[in-house]
Symmetry: D2
Subunit: 139 residues, 4 copies
Protein backbone atom coordinates (compact mmCIF):
# COMPACT_ATOMS: atom_id res chain seq x y z
CA UNK A 1 0.00 0.00 0.00
CA UNK A 2 1.51 3.28 -1.13
CA UNK A 3 1.13 6.82 -0.04
CA UNK A 4 -0.26 9.84 -1.86
CA UNK A 5 1.98 12.63 -3.15
CA UNK A 6 1.43 16.30 -2.28
CA UNK A 7 2.21 19.45 -4.21
CA UNK A 8 0.87 23.01 -4.36
CA UNK A 9 -0.28 25.32 -7.10
CA UNK A 10 -0.91 29.06 -7.19
CA UNK A 11 -3.78 30.31 -9.39
CA UNK A 12 -2.13 32.58 -11.97
CA UNK A 13 -3.91 35.52 -13.59
CA UNK A 14 -4.14 33.78 -16.99
CA UNK A 15 -5.92 30.90 -15.21
CA UNK A 16 -8.85 33.15 -14.28
CA UNK A 17 -11.86 34.18 -16.35
CA UNK A 18 -14.38 37.01 -16.44
CA UNK A 19 -16.35 35.37 -13.61
CA UNK A 20 -13.33 36.26 -11.45
CA UNK A 21 -12.39 32.66 -10.67
CA UNK A 22 -10.08 29.92 -11.95
CA UNK A 23 -11.59 28.58 -15.17
CA UNK A 24 -12.87 25.00 -14.93
CA UNK A 25 -10.63 23.84 -17.79
CA UNK A 26 -7.37 24.82 -16.06
CA UNK A 27 -7.87 22.11 -13.45
CA UNK A 28 -7.10 19.59 -16.20
CA UNK A 29 -3.83 21.38 -16.92
CA UNK A 30 -3.06 21.45 -13.18
CA UNK A 31 -3.75 17.70 -13.02
CA UNK A 32 -1.35 16.96 -15.85
CA UNK A 33 1.36 19.14 -14.30
CA UNK A 34 0.92 17.44 -10.92
CA UNK A 35 1.05 14.02 -12.61
CA UNK A 36 4.27 14.93 -14.43
CA UNK A 37 5.77 16.28 -11.22
CA UNK A 38 4.88 12.99 -9.51
CA UNK A 39 6.44 10.98 -12.36
CA UNK A 40 9.68 12.96 -12.01
CA UNK A 41 9.54 12.37 -8.24
CA UNK A 42 9.28 8.60 -8.89
CA UNK A 43 12.16 8.67 -11.36
CA UNK A 44 9.81 8.17 -14.31
CA UNK A 45 8.95 10.29 -17.35
CA UNK A 46 6.20 10.70 -19.96
CA UNK A 47 8.10 8.82 -22.65
CA UNK A 48 10.22 5.66 -22.44
CA UNK A 49 12.42 3.79 -24.89
CA UNK A 50 13.13 0.06 -25.00
CA UNK A 51 14.64 -2.23 -27.64
CA UNK A 52 11.43 -2.11 -29.67
CA UNK A 53 10.89 1.65 -29.74
CA UNK A 54 8.87 4.23 -27.84
CA UNK A 55 6.38 3.66 -25.02
CA UNK A 56 4.03 6.34 -23.73
CA UNK A 57 0.74 6.68 -21.84
CA UNK A 58 -1.93 8.49 -23.89
CA UNK A 59 -4.91 9.73 -21.91
CA UNK A 60 -8.22 7.96 -22.53
CA UNK A 61 -10.35 9.76 -19.96
CA UNK A 62 -10.41 12.78 -17.67
CA UNK A 63 -13.00 14.13 -15.27
CA UNK A 64 -13.30 16.76 -12.58
CA UNK A 65 -15.97 17.71 -10.05
CA UNK A 66 -16.00 21.22 -8.62
CA UNK A 67 -17.00 22.07 -5.05
CA UNK A 68 -15.76 25.62 -4.54
CA UNK A 69 -14.29 28.45 -6.63
CA UNK A 70 -10.72 29.72 -6.23
CA UNK A 71 -9.40 33.12 -7.22
CA UNK A 72 -6.21 34.75 -8.50
CA UNK A 73 -3.23 34.03 -6.22
CA UNK A 74 -5.05 31.43 -4.12
CA UNK A 75 -2.64 28.59 -3.36
CA UNK A 76 -4.12 25.12 -3.55
CA UNK A 77 -2.84 21.91 -2.05
CA UNK A 78 -3.01 19.04 -4.54
CA UNK A 79 -3.01 15.45 -3.30
CA UNK A 80 -2.13 12.96 -6.05
CA UNK A 81 -2.49 9.20 -5.89
CA UNK A 82 -3.20 6.19 -8.10
CA UNK A 83 -6.60 4.66 -7.40
CA UNK A 84 -6.28 1.89 -9.99
CA UNK A 85 -3.13 0.34 -11.42
CA UNK A 86 -4.27 -2.16 -14.03
CA UNK A 87 -2.29 -4.40 -16.34
CA UNK A 88 -2.33 -1.80 -19.10
CA UNK A 89 -3.90 1.32 -17.57
CA UNK A 90 -3.43 3.75 -14.68
CA UNK A 91 -6.04 5.96 -13.02
CA UNK A 92 -4.70 8.96 -11.13
CA UNK A 93 -6.81 10.86 -8.59
CA UNK A 94 -6.30 14.51 -7.68
CA UNK A 95 -7.82 16.29 -4.67
CA UNK A 96 -7.57 20.08 -4.71
CA UNK A 97 -8.08 22.05 -1.51
CA UNK A 98 -7.61 25.64 -0.36
CA UNK A 99 -7.42 26.72 3.26
CA UNK A 100 -8.43 23.21 4.28
CA UNK A 101 -11.61 23.22 2.21
CA UNK A 102 -12.24 20.96 -0.78
CA UNK A 103 -12.10 22.83 -4.11
CA UNK A 104 -12.23 20.08 -6.73
CA UNK A 105 -11.45 16.42 -7.28
CA UNK A 106 -10.55 14.79 -10.56
CA UNK A 107 -9.30 11.65 -12.23
CA UNK A 108 -7.34 10.90 -15.38
CA UNK A 109 -6.85 7.50 -16.97
CA UNK A 110 -3.91 6.69 -19.21
CA UNK A 111 -3.11 3.52 -21.14
CA UNK A 112 0.38 2.13 -21.71
CA UNK A 113 1.00 2.11 -25.47
CA UNK A 114 3.74 1.38 -27.95
CA UNK A 115 4.03 4.34 -30.30
CA UNK A 116 4.49 3.83 -34.01
CA UNK A 117 5.29 6.22 -36.84
CA UNK A 118 2.94 4.39 -39.16
CA UNK A 119 -0.25 3.88 -37.15
CA UNK A 120 -2.16 4.64 -33.98
CA UNK A 121 -0.67 3.72 -30.56
CA UNK A 122 -1.07 0.03 -29.60
CA UNK A 123 -1.91 -0.79 -25.97
CA UNK A 124 0.51 -3.08 -24.15
CA UNK A 125 1.11 -4.30 -20.56
CA UNK A 126 2.87 -1.76 -18.35
CA UNK A 127 6.55 -2.86 -18.06
CA UNK A 128 7.25 -4.31 -14.61
CA UNK A 129 9.88 -1.74 -13.62
CA UNK A 130 7.44 1.10 -14.37
CA UNK A 131 4.55 -0.58 -12.54
CA UNK A 132 6.75 -1.08 -9.47
CA UNK A 133 7.53 2.62 -9.26
CA UNK A 134 3.90 3.62 -9.84
CA UNK A 135 2.81 1.26 -7.06
CA UNK A 136 4.47 3.56 -4.52
CA UNK A 137 1.48 5.94 -4.84
CA UNK A 138 -1.30 3.37 -5.19
CA UNK A 139 -3.72 4.00 -2.32
CA UNK B 1 -38.25 15.55 -27.63
CA UNK B 2 -35.67 17.97 -28.93
CA UNK B 3 -32.93 17.70 -31.47
CA UNK B 4 -29.17 17.95 -31.09
CA UNK B 5 -27.22 20.98 -32.32
CA UNK B 6 -24.24 20.70 -34.68
CA UNK B 7 -21.19 22.89 -35.05
CA UNK B 8 -17.63 22.45 -36.28
CA UNK B 9 -14.21 23.29 -34.92
CA UNK B 10 -10.77 23.45 -36.51
CA UNK B 11 -7.78 22.36 -34.36
CA UNK B 12 -5.59 25.46 -34.12
CA UNK B 13 -1.80 25.29 -33.71
CA UNK B 14 -1.95 26.50 -30.09
CA UNK B 15 -4.31 23.61 -29.33
CA UNK B 16 -1.61 21.06 -30.13
CA UNK B 17 1.21 19.74 -27.95
CA UNK B 18 4.62 18.16 -28.41
CA UNK B 19 2.96 14.78 -29.04
CA UNK B 20 1.76 16.38 -32.28
CA UNK B 21 -1.95 16.14 -31.41
CA UNK B 22 -4.70 18.27 -29.86
CA UNK B 23 -4.04 18.40 -26.10
CA UNK B 24 -6.65 16.58 -24.00
CA UNK B 25 -7.47 19.75 -22.01
CA UNK B 26 -8.55 21.76 -25.05
CA UNK B 27 -11.59 19.56 -25.52
CA UNK B 28 -13.02 21.17 -22.38
CA UNK B 29 -12.53 24.60 -23.93
CA UNK B 30 -14.14 23.36 -27.16
CA UNK B 31 -17.10 22.04 -25.12
CA UNK B 32 -17.63 25.39 -23.43
CA UNK B 33 -17.42 27.26 -26.72
CA UNK B 34 -19.90 24.87 -28.33
CA UNK B 35 -22.21 25.26 -25.31
CA UNK B 36 -22.07 29.06 -25.56
CA UNK B 37 -22.70 28.92 -29.29
CA UNK B 38 -25.74 26.73 -28.61
CA UNK B 39 -27.00 29.16 -25.95
CA UNK B 40 -26.74 32.05 -28.42
CA UNK B 41 -28.56 29.91 -31.01
CA UNK B 42 -31.39 29.38 -28.49
CA UNK B 43 -31.57 33.09 -27.67
CA UNK B 44 -29.97 32.51 -24.25
CA UNK B 45 -26.75 33.70 -22.66
CA UNK B 46 -24.38 32.79 -19.83
CA UNK B 47 -25.72 35.43 -17.47
CA UNK B 48 -29.28 36.57 -16.81
CA UNK B 49 -30.83 39.37 -14.78
CA UNK B 50 -34.18 39.39 -13.05
CA UNK B 51 -35.73 41.64 -10.38
CA UNK B 52 -33.62 40.00 -7.68
CA UNK B 53 -30.20 40.22 -9.37
CA UNK B 54 -27.94 37.97 -11.41
CA UNK B 55 -28.48 34.34 -12.38
CA UNK B 56 -25.79 32.15 -13.88
CA UNK B 57 -24.89 28.46 -14.33
CA UNK B 58 -21.57 27.54 -12.67
CA UNK B 59 -20.08 24.24 -13.75
CA UNK B 60 -20.05 21.46 -11.13
CA UNK B 61 -18.63 18.65 -13.25
CA UNK B 62 -16.92 17.95 -16.55
CA UNK B 63 -15.64 14.78 -18.16
CA UNK B 64 -14.27 13.61 -21.49
CA UNK B 65 -13.36 10.22 -22.97
CA UNK B 66 -10.93 10.07 -25.87
CA UNK B 67 -11.14 7.57 -28.71
CA UNK B 68 -8.80 8.96 -31.37
CA UNK B 69 -6.23 11.75 -31.72
CA UNK B 70 -6.71 14.78 -33.98
CA UNK B 71 -4.01 16.99 -35.44
CA UNK B 72 -3.41 20.61 -36.42
CA UNK B 73 -6.02 21.85 -38.94
CA UNK B 74 -8.26 18.80 -38.57
CA UNK B 75 -11.88 19.94 -38.62
CA UNK B 76 -14.15 18.20 -36.13
CA UNK B 77 -17.91 17.95 -36.15
CA UNK B 78 -19.36 18.57 -32.67
CA UNK B 79 -22.84 17.32 -31.81
CA UNK B 80 -24.28 19.03 -28.73
CA UNK B 81 -27.37 18.01 -26.80
CA UNK B 82 -28.82 18.04 -23.29
CA UNK B 83 -29.03 14.54 -21.81
CA UNK B 84 -30.53 15.66 -18.50
CA UNK B 85 -32.55 18.79 -17.76
CA UNK B 86 -33.24 18.74 -14.03
CA UNK B 87 -35.07 21.23 -11.83
CA UNK B 88 -31.85 23.02 -10.99
CA UNK B 89 -29.16 21.44 -13.19
CA UNK B 90 -28.37 20.79 -16.85
CA UNK B 91 -26.09 18.10 -18.31
CA UNK B 92 -24.78 18.79 -21.80
CA UNK B 93 -23.27 16.05 -23.95
CA UNK B 94 -20.74 16.61 -26.72
CA UNK B 95 -19.73 14.12 -29.41
CA UNK B 96 -16.64 15.01 -31.40
CA UNK B 97 -15.94 13.29 -34.72
CA UNK B 98 -13.53 13.72 -37.62
CA UNK B 99 -14.03 12.24 -41.08
CA UNK B 100 -16.95 10.25 -39.69
CA UNK B 101 -14.94 8.61 -36.91
CA UNK B 102 -15.49 9.22 -33.20
CA UNK B 103 -12.75 11.36 -31.62
CA UNK B 104 -14.05 12.10 -28.13
CA UNK B 105 -17.24 12.41 -26.12
CA UNK B 106 -17.77 14.55 -23.07
CA UNK B 107 -20.30 15.92 -20.61
CA UNK B 108 -20.54 19.06 -18.51
CA UNK B 109 -23.03 19.70 -15.72
CA UNK B 110 -24.04 23.19 -14.66
CA UNK B 111 -26.31 24.31 -11.84
CA UNK B 112 -28.65 27.31 -11.94
CA UNK B 113 -27.52 29.76 -9.25
CA UNK B 114 -28.30 33.20 -7.98
CA UNK B 115 -25.06 35.15 -7.76
CA UNK B 116 -24.28 37.33 -4.80
CA UNK B 117 -21.54 39.88 -4.13
CA UNK B 118 -21.28 38.76 -0.52
CA UNK B 119 -21.24 34.96 -0.61
CA UNK B 120 -21.03 31.87 -2.76
CA UNK B 121 -23.66 31.23 -5.49
CA UNK B 122 -26.96 29.76 -4.22
CA UNK B 123 -28.63 27.08 -6.32
CA UNK B 124 -32.19 27.78 -7.46
CA UNK B 125 -34.77 26.25 -9.84
CA UNK B 126 -34.15 27.04 -13.52
CA UNK B 127 -36.62 29.80 -14.52
CA UNK B 128 -39.39 28.38 -16.74
CA UNK B 129 -38.63 30.53 -19.76
CA UNK B 130 -35.00 29.35 -19.74
CA UNK B 131 -35.96 25.69 -19.22
CA UNK B 132 -38.34 25.89 -22.17
CA UNK B 133 -35.62 27.08 -24.50
CA UNK B 134 -33.15 24.47 -23.24
CA UNK B 135 -35.72 21.72 -23.79
CA UNK B 136 -35.33 22.24 -27.55
CA UNK B 137 -32.06 20.30 -27.42
CA UNK B 138 -33.03 17.67 -24.82
CA UNK B 139 -32.62 14.29 -26.50
CA UNK C 1 0.94 46.20 -54.46
CA UNK C 2 -1.28 43.70 -52.65
CA UNK C 3 -4.34 44.01 -50.53
CA UNK C 4 -4.90 43.21 -46.87
CA UNK C 5 -6.95 40.20 -45.77
CA UNK C 6 -9.88 40.46 -43.37
CA UNK C 7 -11.27 38.00 -40.87
CA UNK C 8 -13.25 38.16 -37.63
CA UNK C 9 -12.85 36.69 -34.18
CA UNK C 10 -15.26 36.36 -31.25
CA UNK C 11 -13.79 36.69 -27.74
CA UNK C 12 -14.47 33.34 -26.07
CA UNK C 13 -14.97 32.97 -22.32
CA UNK C 14 -11.62 31.18 -21.85
CA UNK C 15 -9.95 34.20 -23.50
CA UNK C 16 -11.06 36.50 -20.66
CA UNK C 17 -9.47 37.07 -17.26
CA UNK C 18 -10.54 38.26 -13.81
CA UNK C 19 -10.33 41.87 -15.01
CA UNK C 20 -13.34 41.00 -17.15
CA UNK C 21 -11.58 41.56 -20.47
CA UNK C 22 -9.68 39.57 -23.12
CA UNK C 23 -6.25 38.75 -21.68
CA UNK C 24 -3.37 40.53 -23.44
CA UNK C 25 -1.65 37.21 -24.29
CA UNK C 26 -4.57 35.87 -26.32
CA UNK C 27 -4.00 38.50 -29.00
CA UNK C 28 -0.84 36.60 -29.94
CA UNK C 29 -2.89 33.43 -30.36
CA UNK C 30 -5.45 35.37 -32.42
CA UNK C 31 -2.60 36.70 -34.60
CA UNK C 32 -1.26 33.22 -35.28
CA UNK C 33 -4.72 31.90 -36.11
CA UNK C 34 -5.36 34.82 -38.47
CA UNK C 35 -1.96 34.25 -40.11
CA UNK C 36 -2.70 30.55 -40.61
CA UNK C 37 -6.13 31.37 -42.03
CA UNK C 38 -4.47 33.79 -44.45
CA UNK C 39 -1.89 31.14 -45.47
CA UNK C 40 -4.69 28.68 -46.23
CA UNK C 41 -6.48 31.42 -48.20
CA UNK C 42 -3.30 31.92 -50.29
CA UNK C 43 -2.92 28.18 -50.87
CA UNK C 44 0.04 27.98 -48.51
CA UNK C 45 0.65 26.14 -45.25
CA UNK C 46 2.91 26.26 -42.19
CA UNK C 47 5.18 23.47 -43.40
CA UNK C 48 6.53 22.73 -46.88
CA UNK C 49 8.52 19.86 -48.38
CA UNK C 50 10.99 20.02 -51.24
CA UNK C 51 13.66 17.62 -52.52
CA UNK C 52 15.95 18.52 -49.63
CA UNK C 53 13.50 18.11 -46.74
CA UNK C 54 11.24 20.32 -44.63
CA UNK C 55 10.89 24.10 -44.78
CA UNK C 56 9.06 26.15 -42.15
CA UNK C 57 8.88 29.71 -40.78
CA UNK C 58 9.78 29.90 -37.06
CA UNK C 59 8.79 33.11 -35.33
CA UNK C 60 11.64 35.40 -34.27
CA UNK C 61 9.61 38.30 -32.93
CA UNK C 62 6.10 39.29 -31.88
CA UNK C 63 4.65 42.50 -30.50
CA UNK C 64 1.27 44.01 -29.72
CA UNK C 65 0.05 47.44 -28.63
CA UNK C 66 -3.31 47.73 -26.90
CA UNK C 67 -5.69 50.68 -27.33
CA UNK C 68 -8.96 49.44 -25.90
CA UNK C 69 -10.28 46.45 -23.96
CA UNK C 70 -12.72 43.91 -25.40
CA UNK C 71 -15.05 41.63 -23.48
CA UNK C 72 -16.60 38.18 -23.70
CA UNK C 73 -18.54 37.71 -26.97
CA UNK C 74 -17.26 40.93 -28.56
CA UNK C 75 -16.57 40.25 -32.23
CA UNK C 76 -13.43 41.86 -33.60
CA UNK C 77 -12.51 42.59 -37.18
CA UNK C 78 -8.89 41.61 -37.89
CA UNK C 79 -7.06 43.13 -40.85
CA UNK C 80 -3.95 41.14 -41.82
CA UNK C 81 -1.24 42.23 -44.21
CA UNK C 82 2.50 41.84 -44.84
CA UNK C 83 4.41 45.05 -44.14
CA UNK C 84 7.81 43.62 -45.05
CA UNK C 85 8.63 40.71 -47.33
CA UNK C 86 12.40 40.24 -47.16
CA UNK C 87 14.63 37.70 -48.86
CA UNK C 88 14.44 35.39 -45.85
CA UNK C 89 11.88 36.94 -43.50
CA UNK C 90 8.25 38.06 -43.43
CA UNK C 91 6.63 40.62 -41.13
CA UNK C 92 2.87 40.35 -40.74
CA UNK C 93 0.77 43.18 -39.32
CA UNK C 94 -2.58 42.74 -37.59
CA UNK C 95 -5.10 45.49 -36.82
CA UNK C 96 -7.88 44.53 -34.41
CA UNK C 97 -11.02 46.67 -34.20
CA UNK C 98 -14.44 46.41 -32.58
CA UNK C 99 -17.45 48.49 -33.59
CA UNK C 100 -15.17 50.58 -35.77
CA UNK C 101 -12.79 51.47 -32.97
CA UNK C 102 -9.15 50.35 -32.79
CA UNK C 103 -8.56 47.65 -30.15
CA UNK C 104 -4.97 46.54 -30.75
CA UNK C 105 -2.31 46.31 -33.42
CA UNK C 106 0.48 43.79 -33.60
CA UNK C 107 3.28 42.38 -35.72
CA UNK C 108 4.97 39.00 -36.00
CA UNK C 109 8.17 38.26 -37.88
CA UNK C 110 9.00 34.80 -39.17
CA UNK C 111 12.13 33.54 -40.93
CA UNK C 112 12.21 30.94 -43.68
CA UNK C 113 14.22 27.98 -42.40
CA UNK C 114 15.21 24.51 -43.44
CA UNK C 115 14.40 22.13 -40.59
CA UNK C 116 16.81 19.42 -39.55
CA UNK C 117 16.48 16.48 -37.18
CA UNK C 118 20.03 16.97 -35.98
CA UNK C 119 20.39 20.69 -35.31
CA UNK C 120 18.64 24.03 -35.07
CA UNK C 121 16.71 25.44 -38.09
CA UNK C 122 18.91 27.09 -40.77
CA UNK C 123 17.65 30.28 -42.40
CA UNK C 124 17.33 30.22 -46.19
CA UNK C 125 15.85 32.43 -48.95
CA UNK C 126 12.07 32.16 -49.26
CA UNK C 127 11.36 29.95 -52.32
CA UNK C 128 10.07 32.04 -55.23
CA UNK C 129 6.68 30.33 -55.52
CA UNK C 130 5.98 31.01 -51.83
CA UNK C 131 7.16 34.64 -52.04
CA UNK C 132 4.88 35.22 -55.02
CA UNK C 133 1.83 34.09 -53.11
CA UNK C 134 2.79 36.10 -50.02
CA UNK C 135 3.22 39.21 -52.19
CA UNK C 136 -0.56 39.25 -52.73
CA UNK C 137 -0.98 40.72 -49.23
CA UNK C 138 2.08 42.98 -49.15
CA UNK C 139 0.80 46.52 -48.57
CA UNK D 1 20.17 52.05 -9.03
CA UNK D 2 18.29 48.84 -8.34
CA UNK D 3 18.99 45.24 -9.05
CA UNK D 4 17.21 42.74 -11.29
CA UNK D 5 15.08 39.92 -9.88
CA UNK D 6 15.58 36.26 -10.80
CA UNK D 7 13.15 33.40 -11.00
CA UNK D 8 12.89 30.10 -12.89
CA UNK D 9 10.25 28.41 -14.96
CA UNK D 10 9.84 24.84 -16.21
CA UNK D 11 8.25 24.35 -19.64
CA UNK D 12 5.09 22.35 -18.98
CA UNK D 13 3.59 19.95 -21.52
CA UNK D 14 0.61 22.23 -22.22
CA UNK D 15 3.09 25.00 -23.09
CA UNK D 16 4.42 23.02 -26.06
CA UNK D 17 3.02 22.73 -29.59
CA UNK D 18 3.18 20.29 -32.49
CA UNK D 19 6.60 21.70 -33.48
CA UNK D 20 7.82 20.08 -30.25
CA UNK D 21 8.81 23.37 -28.59
CA UNK D 22 7.37 25.96 -26.21
CA UNK D 23 4.79 28.00 -28.17
CA UNK D 24 5.79 31.62 -28.76
CA UNK D 25 2.64 32.92 -27.05
CA UNK D 26 3.40 31.27 -23.70
CA UNK D 27 6.38 33.57 -23.16
CA UNK D 28 3.87 36.39 -22.62
CA UNK D 29 2.15 34.32 -19.92
CA UNK D 30 5.55 33.54 -18.37
CA UNK D 31 6.35 37.29 -18.39
CA UNK D 32 3.14 38.15 -16.59
CA UNK D 33 3.69 35.43 -14.00
CA UNK D 34 7.26 36.60 -13.39
CA UNK D 35 6.02 40.19 -13.09
CA UNK D 36 3.38 39.18 -10.54
CA UNK D 37 5.95 37.17 -8.60
CA UNK D 38 8.21 40.23 -8.54
CA UNK D 39 5.33 42.44 -7.36
CA UNK D 40 4.63 40.04 -4.49
CA UNK D 41 8.38 40.03 -3.68
CA UNK D 42 8.29 43.85 -3.49
CA UNK D 43 5.20 43.82 -1.26
CA UNK D 44 2.99 45.06 -4.11
CA UNK D 45 0.02 43.59 -5.93
CA UNK D 46 -1.87 43.95 -9.21
CA UNK D 47 -4.69 45.98 -7.70
CA UNK D 48 -4.61 48.77 -5.11
CA UNK D 49 -7.28 50.68 -3.23
CA UNK D 50 -7.09 54.27 -2.00
CA UNK D 51 -9.73 56.74 -0.75
CA UNK D 52 -10.91 57.35 -4.31
CA UNK D 53 -11.31 53.73 -5.44
CA UNK D 54 -9.31 51.16 -7.38
CA UNK D 55 -5.92 51.60 -9.04
CA UNK D 56 -4.43 49.10 -11.45
CA UNK D 57 -1.86 48.87 -14.25
CA UNK D 58 -3.39 47.79 -17.57
CA UNK D 59 -0.93 46.64 -20.20
CA UNK D 60 -0.50 48.90 -23.24
CA UNK D 61 2.27 47.01 -25.00
CA UNK D 62 4.11 43.68 -25.04
CA UNK D 63 6.88 42.31 -27.22
CA UNK D 64 9.20 39.34 -27.34
CA UNK D 65 12.17 38.35 -29.49
CA UNK D 66 13.10 34.69 -29.77
CA UNK D 67 16.68 33.42 -30.07
CA UNK D 68 16.42 29.73 -29.34
CA UNK D 69 13.70 27.10 -28.85
CA UNK D 70 13.05 25.33 -25.54
CA UNK D 71 11.36 21.98 -25.02
CA UNK D 72 9.14 20.19 -22.51
CA UNK D 73 10.70 20.12 -19.01
CA UNK D 74 13.48 22.58 -19.89
CA UNK D 75 14.00 24.92 -16.94
CA UNK D 76 14.60 28.54 -17.85
CA UNK D 77 16.15 31.27 -15.76
CA UNK D 78 14.16 34.52 -16.02
CA UNK D 79 15.80 37.83 -15.17
CA UNK D 80 13.25 40.58 -14.53
CA UNK D 81 13.97 44.30 -14.23
CA UNK D 82 12.38 47.68 -14.91
CA UNK D 83 14.07 49.50 -17.78
CA UNK D 84 11.86 52.59 -17.61
CA UNK D 85 9.91 53.93 -14.63
CA UNK D 86 7.97 56.94 -15.91
CA UNK D 87 5.54 59.24 -14.13
CA UNK D 88 2.59 57.14 -15.22
CA UNK D 89 4.05 54.05 -16.90
CA UNK D 90 6.41 51.15 -16.20
CA UNK D 91 8.38 49.06 -18.70
CA UNK D 92 9.50 45.65 -17.47
CA UNK D 93 12.19 43.66 -19.24
CA UNK D 94 12.52 39.87 -19.15
CA UNK D 95 15.53 37.84 -20.24
CA UNK D 96 14.96 34.11 -20.61
CA UNK D 97 17.91 31.72 -20.71
CA UNK D 98 18.46 27.97 -20.58
CA UNK D 99 21.76 26.30 -19.76
CA UNK D 100 23.42 29.71 -19.94
CA UNK D 101 22.21 30.45 -23.46
CA UNK D 102 19.76 33.22 -24.37
CA UNK D 103 16.29 31.89 -25.27
CA UNK D 104 14.15 35.03 -25.54
CA UNK D 105 13.90 38.59 -24.33
CA UNK D 106 10.73 40.60 -23.91
CA UNK D 107 9.22 43.79 -22.58
CA UNK D 108 5.81 44.76 -21.27
CA UNK D 109 4.58 48.29 -20.60
CA UNK D 110 1.82 49.06 -18.13
CA UNK D 111 0.15 52.36 -17.28
CA UNK D 112 -1.09 53.39 -13.85
CA UNK D 113 -4.85 53.89 -14.08
CA UNK D 114 -7.80 54.64 -11.88
CA UNK D 115 -10.50 52.08 -12.60
CA UNK D 116 -14.11 53.09 -12.92
CA UNK D 117 -17.32 51.09 -13.17
CA UNK D 118 -18.76 53.56 -15.64
CA UNK D 119 -16.00 54.20 -18.17
CA UNK D 120 -12.57 53.19 -19.41
CA UNK D 121 -9.53 53.34 -17.07
CA UNK D 122 -8.05 56.86 -16.64
CA UNK D 123 -4.26 57.19 -16.50
CA UNK D 124 -2.79 58.85 -13.39
CA UNK D 125 0.65 59.38 -11.83
CA UNK D 126 2.03 56.31 -10.06
CA UNK D 127 1.55 56.86 -6.29
CA UNK D 128 4.90 57.66 -4.62
CA UNK D 129 4.89 54.65 -2.28
CA UNK D 130 4.40 52.30 -5.23
CA UNK D 131 7.07 54.05 -7.33
CA UNK D 132 9.54 53.73 -4.47
CA UNK D 133 9.10 49.99 -4.26
CA UNK D 134 9.31 49.57 -8.04
CA UNK D 135 12.54 51.58 -8.10
CA UNK D 136 14.27 48.69 -6.32
CA UNK D 137 14.40 46.81 -9.63
CA UNK D 138 15.06 49.74 -11.96
CA UNK D 139 18.34 48.97 -13.76
Amino acid sequence: MGQSYHTTRRVEFRDTDAAGIAHFSVFFVYMEQAEHELLRHLGLSVMFHDDHGKISFPRVGARCDYQRAVKFEDIMDIEVSIVRLGTKSVTFEFNFSHDGQAVASGQTTTVCCRLSDTGPPQSMPIPTWIAEKLSEVVV
